[in-house]
């Protein structure tokens, strides 16, 4: 026994003296490929598509899924049609789908003749991302008895739906895929078609959608199906949603049931929403309160007022206050809100400010003065001030407000000159609102230019973009091209080479610990960035500033309101991994604008696939993720030493 121990120790020693590779980036060529990908250098990268080594070709094809340069489409198409290696073809199909364009379609359509199921699956999904309505039959007429192909078809239908390219034939096919004899992934993609299409052509899917929402074994499918209920006839949908809110054991399905209520008249959905407000899980209550708030205008029911007193949390309460303003213009609750406000935390304050933004009638002026006071008070927390700005903008844009636009404009000018990036961004959006007609009011743009001078790329892209847009609007020019961050943050490859596969990271919160598994092989740049920040203790003490029921919890913002960033940005790194429960992604304001913010998903979110980097997966602590609320603090984030094989 002791002998064995010694041997193990010796072996460990031997390992430590000459460190064996811990990930694939010990291969210099791979580093080259990934670096070219990071630099978005299509010309050089393309050469690796004809490398002798299939592994390099696979990685290169995949790299183009992130580069998304149509200059590579011909080469990728050639790989898709000709490469002897199955996975090169599969990756090429994925990359073409990500890139889009006619050349991609011209390669994808002939590759339907391919006989490898893994390739075909990807080709079908890519076609869904790329084809136009004229070519719809290419996808909608295909039949297969192979589960993987069916999955590809369903995924293709999903993308067609999202892109508004689907027709009644696709609807009928998607509905068929909802039935039990198809695989979970097929059913999920089909249900997502109904969940994520803004409109659905054709009929005849209703029964199957309802069956899937109530009976599917997979809660992911039920969630998506429930989300699709907005396409159903109101009384039928609400009847079933009322059953689901009472019976489904997965709170996320209940969240979606409540959220689906948004698409129906609040008078009819009253039962559903107030049941949601009494749910045992906070997320369901929040979702219900938000729907009541957003649909509250003109609601005449009697349930709202008592519900405010019973409200379980600040977030619920703020939403109900907001709704109360909408239902009852005479409601004298401004003072009550202000009283609570004085003792509230920053995040509670920001919710209450948004509620005050809905005050109307005789209370409007009171609320207005209170809000702009909070906005201009530079002792206030950033979170509070950006919410105050948002509340003002919402007041400003509401029809029927009694406060003249010029009053708002005065405040806006002062606020912008205080040069808070978030405030600048939020206000800029209001300035280019055509209905407010600030074009006539503002003759002197100097305050905007002054604000602009203080913003810089890549840090402030999220504020700079709307600011530039609104300057262009006010000057009567065309909308400027979307801003792009230049390459500014090379990947530290020496560091990447030391990151073991599946490196674990622990996030401690008061509610428990979340363990993440880093995916260095798939997203080396994002993982290296994240781990560097962890080592700098960057995330310690930061808040979860954004929690959307059954969607994501988000953190990593240095301001706490979501507008924070550092003076660098990193690249998007897309792989074929799909967002499921507990995927960890990089937040961004468009491709290649990622920085320090990240999020964890509550459930499947297909609309993020291929658009947001996934750099980690939640290993442990999903129960904690489900409990996290806005304002929960990260105690610390630490890299866990994992045993080296």
């Amino acid at each position: 026994m002791r002998k064995l121990l010694i041997i193990t120790l010796l072996a460990a020693l031997a390992c430590s003296t000459k460190t064996p590779p811990v990930n694939k980036f010990s291969d210099a060529v791979l580093v080259k490929i990934y670096d070219l990908k990071d630099r978005r250098q299509t010309d050089s990268l393309i050469n690796f598509l004809s490398s002798e080594n299939p592994v390099y070709r696979r990685e290169t094809a995949l790299a183009f899924a992130s580069v998304q340069d149509s200059a590579a489409s011909l080469a990728l198409g050639t790989s898709l049609l000709e490469d002897p290696d199955t996975l090169v073809k599969r990756n090429a199909a994925f990359a073409l789908g990500q890139t889009g364009g006619t050349q991609a379609v011209n390669a994808l359509i002939p590759s339907l003749e391919n006989k490898e199921r893994v390739v075909l699956r990807e080709v079908l999904e890519a076609l869904g991302k790329t084809i136009e309505r004229n070519d719809l039959a290419v996808l909608s007429q295909l039949q297969s008895d192979d589960s993987l192909i069916q999955e590809g078809l369903a995924a293709g239908f999903y993308h067609l739906g999202v892109r508004k390219k689907a027709d009644s034939v696709v609807t009928r096919r998607a509905a068929t895929f909802l039935t039990n004899r198809f695989s979970v992934k097929t059913r999920l993609a089909a249900a997502s078609y109904f969940a994520r299409s803004s409109t659905i052509e054709g009929r005849g899917y209703e029964e199957k959608l309802i069956a899937a929402a109530q009976q599917d074994k997979s809660s992911d499918v039920r969630m998506a199906a429930v989300r699709g209920f907005r396409h159903l006839e109101q009384s039928e949908a609400l009847y079933i949603l009322n059953e689901i809110i009472e019976s489904d054991l997965d709170y996320r399905v209940r969240v979606n049931a409540v959220s689906a209520g948004r698409y129906f008249s609040i008078t009819e959905a009253e039962g559903l929403l107030f049941k949601g407000l009494k749910d045992s899980v906070e997320m369901v209550r929040v979702a219900a309160a938000e729907v009541i708030n957003s649909n509250g205008e003109g609601y005449k029911g009697k349930l709202l007022h008592p519900a405010i007193n019973d409200a379980s949390s600040p977030r619920v309460k703020s939403n109900l206050y907001s709704a109360f303003f909408k239902t009852n213009p005479k409601a004298g609750i401004v003072e009550e809100i202000v009283r609570i406000y004085s003792k509230a935390s920053s995040y509670y304050k920001s919710d209450l400010l948004l509620a005050l933004g809905e005050a109307r009638g005789s209370h409007e002026t009171n609320a207005f003065e209170f809000i702009y006071g909070e906005l201009l008070n530079d002792k206030n927390d950033k979170v509070v001030r950006s919410s105050a700005a948002a509340a003002l903008v919402s007041m400003n844009t509401r029809k029927g407000t009694k406060i003249p636009a010029s009053e708002f404009l005065k405040i806006y000018k002062q606020a912008i000159l205080q040069s808070d990036v978030a405030v600048t961004g939020i206000v800029s959006v209001a300035l280019m609102d055509k209905s407010l007609n600030y074009k006539e009011e503002i003759k002197d743009l100097s305050f905007l230019y002054e604000a602009k001078a203080k913003l810089s790329l890549p840090k402030d892209i999220e504020s700079l973009q709307p600011l530039e847009n609104s300057i262009a609007y006010l000057e009567g020019k065309d909308k400027p091209a979307a801003l792009k961050n230049d390459y500014n943050h090379p990947i530290d490859w020496t560091f990447v080479k030391t990151i073991p596969l599946n490196q674990l990271v622990e996030i401690r919160t008061k509610k428990g610990t979340i363990v993440l598994r880093m995916l260095v092989a798939e997203a080396p740049g994002s993982v290296a960035n994240f781990l560097t920040l962890v080592k700098q203790k960057y995330f310690d003490g930061k808040f979860f500033h954004r929690v959307v029921p059954n969607f994501v919890i988000q953190s990593g913002c240095n301001r706490g309101d979501g507008f924070g960033s550092e003076d660098y940005s990193i690249r998007s790194e897309f792989s074929m991994r799909r967002y499921s429960t507990g995927s960890v992604g990089m937040a961004s304001a468009g491709k290649d604008t990622e920085g320090t913010q990240w999020f964890i998903t509550h459930s499947n979110t297909p609309h993020l696939d291929g658009r947001y980097t996934i750099f980690a997966e939640t290993m442990k602590g999903m129960n904690v993720v489900h409990k996290i609320e806005v304002g929960d603090k990260i105690l610390d984030v630490t890299v866990k030493n994992i045993l080296k094989r």
Partner: protein, 704 residues
């Protein structure tokens, strides 16, 4: 009279584009079937009068998607179209395209244009186009491609005159150059073009791209191409993808220009509504199996009526001839060898006709694609395709039409496995053998009052055949490594009424193919078998009568009994008899004696001959009465043991042997025709006989 001009015209197009319909329409019954050398594809050639002065030889080439072939069938097309010296090289090509799905049909067309071949584009299925609301500017299409374009409806024979007119005119070569070899390969292409003196650079490009598929190239040619390729850094096949993408780009542009109105979304709704029932997970199968049952019943029972008539007719003819013709071996050959031999061929025609009527209706209506959809997943596990189901089930009636029906399976390996295992399905010819042996060894009793033991045994034999077929399919699948799956994804054709004349043509074509190709072999083998069973060493046969007389002086035989004895004696001493005795050591471990050995040899003509041979050898005369034969067999004593000859062990051994053995020369003949060679029928013969031998051996040894 003006001199007749004779044109060679090739029909080219994707599978299911309506090529065969057009061929039938153009040539009527004026067609013949030949072979392409070294390949299992029928070469269909027909003749057609284009106008007063021009006739055409029309060749229906196998369906093809692009000039880069993936199957043997496709290779033959490329081989012909790239070789101007090929005997089948056409003067003009008619490309048939499904107008409802033009995008996929035009790739090949653009390649043919680049090869500099005179092409006419025939847009087929114009009726469906009208139905779908699609509207095309045909003149513009013709202009864009710089080739004549005609609209046809091959099923109804509409627009054929237009097509014929275009074909009669000197079709000029299109001026379009759609795909130009990339700059980096121009030098190599030029060099090849000059060396081989080729008309177009694309032809030279093909030489470089796929020399291995252009079989007409000599080894010197190949070496030259290889040298040029390596000098100029030309990697064969490297540019295929880029070419395809480029062509699709071109096609997209053309279509954007010529499509005036796209098809309505839901024009296939009737079809789809039908599909909801016909491909339903329960109803779909139910309907399909009902249909299979009807087909089986028709091939099995309905065909029986004409078959009996043919059988009787030929028996009468044979009897009539043997009475009327003068004696002598030649006339005997005619009356007892050739005439029954021809009868043995003709007798299959009803089954073939009926099965192919059904199959071509299934194909014509579009239902066959649904069968594939329903059955493919299951059948693929056994290395077969969804289309194998109809042949397999038909095999339970008769393997001959069943094997011919495998033609509908497009994947060669799937088809081969189906051909290989179909004869294991118990066919109707086994039934007489089964009936008599089961009656002999299985007690006529009932279990639980209603289950007949004999019935159970009979069913067991059918199941045994079925399982052997499935097992063999698995074995074959493992051996020939069916890696590629024949069907993953497909587009369902719309349902349509069958075109009855096409059904007729199919029946005629299949019948002709059987009679003239398999028929030769069947006649030859039946004559040999007849000789073996009728002749023996001269003096023994000559003295047969006397010998029998001598031996049976004490037996007081009737005249008929005496004749039967003579016949038995003659058979015993015929060459077949000698072979049977000579075989005895081999078949003894199975429990068979020489008498059974003789029956094994003669029943190679057809399994049911076993019964008549047994009747003869046991001096029973006519084999009509099963009960008599059964009684006689029961009484037969085993000389060695003193017990009955046909113990259950022997009976079961024989049953198992007949279940598995390839005791049918007609099947072998048809397999030879369908696989275009003796390799597969021989492998099948050896495999099945081996399987039968080993199984029978085990059964006998275990039971006795």
């Amino acid at each position: 009279m003006a001199t007749q001009k004779r044109l060679k015209i090739a029909l080219v197009g994707k599978p299911n584009s309506g090529k065969s319909s057009l061929f039938n329409q153009l040539t009527g019954l004026n067609q013949k079937i030949g072979n392409f050398p070294g390949i299992t594809v029928d070469k269909r050639i027909g003749f057609c009068q284009l106008d007063e002065n021009t006739s055409a030889e029309i060749i229906d080439l196998p369906g093809i998607y692009s000039l880069y072939p993936r199957t043997l069938d496709e290779k033959i097309v490329v081989e012909i179209l790239t070789n101007r010296k090929n005997e089948n090289f056409p003067d003009c090509i008619a490309v048939i395209a499904d107008a409802t799905n033009l995008k996929n049909c035009l790739l090949l067309l653009t390649q043919l244009i680049d090869l500099g071949l005179p092409v006419v584009l025939a847009l087929n299925m114009m009726d469906l186009v009208a139905k779908s609301g699609l509207s095309l500017d045909v003149k513009k299409l013709s202009k864009q491609l710089d080739i004549p374009v005609v609209m046809i409806n091959a099923r109804q024979g509409l627009g054929l005159d237009g097509l014929k007119n275009k074909l009669t005119e000197q079709v000029k070569v299109s001026d379009r150059k759609i795909f130009q070899p990339l700059n980096e390969v121009v030098v190599a292409v030029d060099e090849i073009q000059t060396h081989f003196n080729l008309a177009t650079s694309y032809e030279a490009f093909q030489y470089l791209q796929q020399p291995e598929n252009l079989l007409f190239l000599s080894s010197d040619d190949r070496t030259f191409i290889k040298t040029v390729a390596s000098q100029q850094n030309f990697c064969p096949h490297k540019y295929q993808g880029a070419e395809t993408i480029h062509r699709y780009g071109f096609i997209q542009e053309v279509l954007d220009a010529v499509i005036i109105k796209s098809a309505a979304q839901d024009w296939r709704s009737t079809s789809r509504r039908l599909d909801r029932i016909l491909t339903h997970k329960i109803w779909g199968y139910l309907i399909f199996f009902t249909l299979l049952f009807v087909i089986f019943q028709s091939v099995f029972a309905l065909a029986q009526i004409p078959m009996d008539a043919i059988d009787r007719g030929f028996a009468d003819l044979s009897g009539f001839l043997s009475k009327r013709l003068p004696g002598g071996p030649l006339f005997e050959l005619i009356s007892s060898g050739i005439v029954p031999g021809i009868g043995g061929i003709i007798i299959f025609i009803p089954q073939i006709a009926i099965l192919f009527a059904f199959i071509s209706i299934l194909e014509e209506t579009g239902y066959m694609s649904r069968v594939v959809f329903l059955m493919d997943k299951i059948m693929r596990k056994f290395g077969m395709s969804g289309r194998s189901v109809v042949p397999l089930i038909s095999g339970m009636a008769c393997a001959i039409p069943a094997i011919m029906a495998t033609r509908t399976i497009d994947n060669w390996k799937d088809r081969l496995i189906t051909i290989f295992v179909t004869p294991l399905m118990s066919c109707s010819a086994r039934l007489p053998v089964f009936a008599i042996l089961v009656a002999l060894i299985v007690p006529h009793e009932r279990v639980l009052g209603f289950i007949s033991l004999q019935g159970v045994a009979l069913m067991g034999l059918y199941l045994l055949g079925f399982f052997a077929a499935m097992f063999s399919a698995l074995l074959m699948k493992a051996i020939i490594k069916v890696s590629e799956r024949s069907y993953l994804i497909m587009e369902m054709p719309t349902y349509r009424m069958p075109k009855w004349s096409n059904v007729g043509y199919t029946i005629i074509e299949k019948t002709k193919a059987f009679v003239f190709e398999a028929g030769k072999i069947i006649i030859a083998v039946s004559i040999i078998l007849w000789v073996l069973a009728s002749y023996g060493p001269k003096e023994v046969m000559d003295n047969a009568r006397a010998t029998v007389q001598n031996e049976s002086t004490n037996l007081r035989l009737t005249k008929e009994g005496f004749e039967n004895k003579v016949a038995a004696y003659k058979l015993e001493h015929s060459y077949a008899g000698i072979m049977g005795k000579w075989m005895e050591p081999v078949i003894r471990p199975l429990g068979f004696d020489w008498k059974i050995g003789i029956a094994l040899i003669t029943s190679f003509a057809a399994r049911e001959v076993f019964v008549s041979t047994i009747a003869t050898i046991y001096s029973l005369g006519s084999a009509d009465d099963n009960a008599t034969i059964k009684e006689r067999l029961k009484d037969e004593v085993n000389a060695e043991t003193g017990g009955p000859r046909f113990t259950p062990a022997v009976g079961f051994s024989l049953l198992v042997f007949y279940t598995f053995a390839m005791q049918c020369m007609s099947t072998l003949a048809i397999v030879k025709r369908e696989t275009k060679g003796w390799k597969w029928p021989m492998i099948q013969l050896i495999y099945m006989t081996g399987l039968a031998y080993v199984s029978a051996l085990i059964v006998y040894q275990v039971l006795s």
